[in-house]
């Protein structure tokens, strides 16, 4: 079966510091990968998605970037964090085949920028 991991689970970082969040998927190959941010325990905002290694699509201009160095690894980064980057970050994957379209989410990372 497939599993998705995210780490760290929680993170407290000062303004201006760098960020690296990691997401890995097991049990599938060539997945579509996604980064979302959820603010105030409510709506989801799609930040980035990737359909393959090195292929990153950005949904909104922001202080963040994403990379996919390996097939099942997705990294969210920032060079200098802003207070507004605080939130709950969720990674998700979906099959690249046509058999299913749903996304499966990781446990999330709670980021607090102080």
């Amino acid at each position: 079966s497939q599993t998705i991991h995210q780490w760290p689970a929680t993170l407290v970082q000062p303004v201006g510091s760098p960020l690296s969040l990691e997401c890995t998927v097991e049990g599938t190959s060539n997945p579509n990968l996604y980064w979302y941010r959820q603010a105030a325990g409510r709506g989801l905002q799609l930040l980035f998605y990737s359909v393959g290694i090195g292929q990153i699509s950005s949904e909104v201009p922001q202080n963040l970037s994403a990379s996919r160095p390996q097939d099942r690894q997705f990294i969210l980064s920032s060079k200098k964090l802003l207070l507004s980057d605080s939130g709950f970050y969720l990674c998700a994957w979906s099959s690249s085949g046509r058999a299913s379209y749903e996304q499966y989410f990781g446990p999330g990372t709670r980021l607090t920028v102080t």
């Binding site: 995210q6 579509n32 996604y34 325990g41 799609l46 998700a92 379209y101 446990p107």
Partner: protein, 115 residues
């Protein structure tokens, strides 16, 4: 552009009573619709989906949803709610003609089931 709306910020229901969480959608073409549940400080869990076929879709934890094309709705239902069903529920629609199975999510509905 595709969109989904969840008109209720919160739904309160007594344990044992029926639970309904509303979702309406706007999409050109045939919609692919999804429901997710999120417990506090956790990721979203997939409940069920409608792609094609029967309008009544059954999913996890006793939930079901009814696809109504004429009303452009996809309401989530459970015949008898449990206190453990208290959570945040999201409706989503697949973005048509977009690479990578992108989904558009509604704003979420918080469900509170009281003992």
């Amino acid at each position: 552009a595709q969109s989904v709306a969840q008109p209720e910020d919160q739904v309160n229901v007594a344990e044992g009573n029926p639970l309904t969480v509303k979702c309406t959608y706007s999409v050109s073409g045939n919609p692919y619709l999804f429901w997710y549940v999120q417990y506090p400080n956790r990721g979203l869990q997939f409940l069920l989906k409608y792609i094609t076929g029967d309008n009544l879709v059954k999913g996890s934890y006793g939930f079901e949803a009814e696809f109504n094309k004429s009303q452009t709705s996809f309401h989530l239902k459970k015949p008898s709610a449990l206190v453990s069903d208290s959570a945040l529920y999201f409706c989503a629609v697949r973005v048509i003609k977009a690479a990578g199975n992108k989904l558009t999510f509604g704003g979420g509905t918080r469900v509170l089931v009281k003992p």
